[in-house]
């Protein structure tokens, strides 16, 4: 269906309060014509997955700068799967060391955007990966 907006959930898992990047990305995606929902801070994996279900999103963007991604991301991705949201594109941004990237990709985090990424790059990546007209499997 042409004109259907890509729906994105931007989430801040864990305790860290650094929300500059999350907010900038949210604004950029909105300006690029996507529907963006921002969770706010200190979200547990359960809260994030619940929001993804409620909001029927195509994309979940996780922003984390505290280093807790190794613990939290697997829980989020697995919960998404358990809730039938396998089709959702999961992205991550923040401070994620190179050495952690292969394991996260393996897990199903398809795009990892570190410091210095341009917002255009993220927009482009999402547009290429999500084809809203084909549906993500759970959309009406």
């Amino acid at each position: 269906m042409p004109g259907k907006k890509i729906r994105v959930l931007i989430a801040k898992p864990g305790l860290d309060g650094h929300d500059r990047g999350a907010k900038v990305v949210a604004r950029a995606l909105r300006d690029a014509g996507m529907e963006v929902i921002y969770t706010g801070l200190r979200q547990t994996p359960e809260m994030i997955v619940e929001a993804a279900l409620q909001e029927d999103v195509d994309v979940v963007g996780l922003s984390i700068l505290s280093g807790a991604h190794t613990t939290l991301f697997p829980r989020i991705v697995n919960l998404l799967k358990e809730n039938g949201l396998d089709g959702v594109l999961v992205l991550a941004g923040g401070i994620i060391p190179d050495e952690d990237v292969p394991a996260l990709k393996e897990l199903g985090v398809r795009g990892i955007f570190g410091p210095g990424t341009s917002t255009e790059e993220i927009v482009r990546f999402i547009r290429e990966e999500v084809n809203p007209s084909a549906g993500s499997g759970h959309r009406p």
Binding site: R27, L41, A68, T70, P115
Partner: protein
């Protein structure tokens, strides 16, 4: 010739210069772009002259008023510095923000830094500690020791400062919501070593307002949080005369994306709010104001940053004297710590960060900072390695001992450019003060999301400038959007001992097992009672800490009594 005639003469000459010499050059060699802007996106003029700093407050245009704008260092309005001799007397304190993993690991890092010439300590706590959770709390999962050191009880604090002369060195602690508790742990640890609290020197950040604005590590709502802050003012005034009970921080506001003027304005507006709160409690402004300290960011734009520091001192002195009626010159002093801008560091070509940090540190020193943290080159990637942190410290030492800038006081004073930027910075800050006052002061402004929105706007604009740099040439970040290389990352990254978490949990379990649990219960009960009243909570917190009540238990009492705060989501 009087001032007005002189200025008219310069104006005439400048017009002539523009028409002849300048125009000829511009015709042949156009400038690199149409407009030049600072890091904060403010316009920068081609040339600054006496016209740009002339006093235009009255109809009679007069020259730069030295006495009113600058004065002498160590005297009102302190534009040139808070001390008469500045760094000729004593260099700034070289205070490296450090902490990771367990108290043992961090203690070793402190000793390493002191061995290499650091002159003050600065503690970074991990996320659970910043939120008042013990290391074994379910909320702490995955966060142990990642962003700082884990401190859950007095036992951790004892290890953290083991072998460090707390009676001689000053310690700064970046802790906010649980600041009173962590401060009590420091006091109690010193006490156990026979060091009375009255000799302790240092700083607790304790600046809750900027948490709502920018850093977002709040636990409680503004009102009970402000009460805890004023409790520490009151306690410190009485018992720890050498302690800075707050470090009113612009650093995090800037890191969240604010411009230099926003950083300046919001930080000072926070400062006014704390002064008001202290006065409302019935404290004499001249008793607590001398122990208020500040903390700023040093970003990339050299002159803009220097102007910010100088304007900050002048505004604070004036407001403290004129608005709050402080009579003690020490209340007029703005003393501040500076940290180079973490957000300016790039993950690409991290070696370049050494250079960025050096330039930023130089701005801080030329701006008259009292203490300084220099970031390490690897901090866009991880916590700093030993080698990286040593280079960062050496950067300060080179500025101090080799550059010559520390040999004279406020050497940029009188620069038409720097004075003009200083004036502009001040004007922009006052414009914000007016808007904040119209919202009922900073507390009202925060409630309405005003500073949060202003900062988010600036952050977004800055990112868009970076993204569009190839078109505009206006925001080049070396290694990020220009001068790229394909070289793989080669710098070593700090590894945090994974066994640390287990050892920390064991120590915590031992503390809970071996302490007098009845005593702990009684002291927590007393704290709970006091929290319901309007009594100063510091003595109760201190008693609980002495009995080895944990951070999580004490903050748990507050969570029960005060509730937890959820911010409105502002995008």
């Amino acid at each position: 010739m009087d001032d007005k005639e002189k200025l008219d003469e310069i104006r005439k000459e400048q017009a002539r210069w523009e028409e002849t010499t300048l125009q000829k050059t511009l015709n042949r060699f156009p400038e690199r772009r149409d407009t030049f802007i600072t890091t904060s996106s403010s316009p920068v003029e081609r040339l600054y002259t006496p016209l740009d700093i002339a006093d235009t407050s009255t109809k009679l245009s007069t020259g730069f008023d030295y006495e009113r704008n600058l004065g002498f260092p160590g005297q009102y309005p302190f534009t040139r510095g808070v001390h008469p001799t500045m760094y000729r007397g004593r260099l700034w304190t070289m205070r490296m923000f450090a902490g990771y993993g367990t108290a043992e690991e961090t203690n070793a890092r402190y000793k390493y830094l002191l061995e290499h010439g650091e002159t003050g300590l600065s503690v970074a706590f991990d996320m659970p500690t910043l939120y008042g959770y013990d290391s074994d709390d379910p909320q702490a999962e995955g966060e142990f020791g990642k962003c700082g050191v884990a401190v859950s009880s007095l036992a951790d604090t004892e290890v953290l400062f083991d072998g460090i002369p707390v009676d001689e060195i000053t310690t700064s602690m970046t802790i906010n919501s649980p600041a009173a508790v962590i401060w009590a742990m420091y006091i109690a640890a010193a006490e156990k070593r026979g060091v009375p609290m009255k000799v302790l020197g240092g700083t607790i950040q304790n600046d809750i307002l900027k948490e709502y604005i920018a850093q977002k590590e709040f636990i409680f709502a503004p009102e009970p949080s402000m009460r805890l802050v004023v409790d520490t003012f009151e306690f410190g005034t009485k018992y720890l005369p050498k302690w800075n009970t707050i470090s009113i921080s612009g650093y995090h506001i800037r890191e969240a994306g604010a411009t230099a003027a926003q950083e300046l304005a919001f930080t000072l507006a926070d400062g006014f709010e704390y002064v008001k709160a202290g006065i409302e409690r019935g404290l004499d402004v001249d008793e607590f104001a001398p122990r208020l300290s500040f903390f700023f960011n040093a970003h990339n734009d050299f002159f803009e940053e220097i102007a910010k520091f100088r304007a900050a001192r002048r505004i604070w002195a004036r407001e403290m004297r004129e608005r709050f009626g402080a009579k003690n010159p020490r209340s007029w002093w703005m003393r501040f710590h500076t940290q180079t801008a973490g957000c300016s560091l790039t993950a690409q070509q991290p070696d370049n960060n050494i250079v960025r940090t050096a330039i930023q540190a130089l701005a801080a020193v030329l701006g008259g900072t009292q203490s300084l943290h220099t970031n390490s080159m690897d901090e866009a990637l991880a916590l700093p390695s030993e080698t990286a942190v040593r280079i960062a410290l050496r950067t300060q030492q080179i500025i101090a001992h080799e550059s010559g800038v520390a040999n004279t006081v406020d050497p940029l004073a009188g620069s038409y450019c720097v004075e003009a930027l200083t004036n502009r910075m001040e004007e922009e800050a006052y414009e914000y003060f007016r808007r904040i006052e119209s919202l009922g002061g900073m507390l009202g402004a925060i409630e309405r999301g005003f500073p949060q929105r202003e900062i988010a706007e600036s952050a977004y604009r800055y990112q868009r400038e970076i993204d569009a740099a190839s078109l505009t040439g206006q925001r080049t970040i070396v290694g990020v959007n220009d001068y790229l290389t394909e070289e793989p990352l080669t710098i070593p990254i700090l590894e945090i001992d994974r066994e640390g978490e287990r050892r920390q949990r064991e120590r915590l379990a031992r503390v809970r097992r071996e302490r007098d649990n009845e005593l702990v219960a009684r002291r927590l009960e007393a704290l709970w009672e006091a929290a319901q009243s309007t009594e100063n909570l510091m003595p109760y917190i201190l008693d609980a800490v002495r009995a080895y009540a944990t951070l999580g238990e004490i903050c748990g009492v507050f969570r029960e009594v005060f509730g937890e705060y959820r911010e409105p989501v502002i995008l």
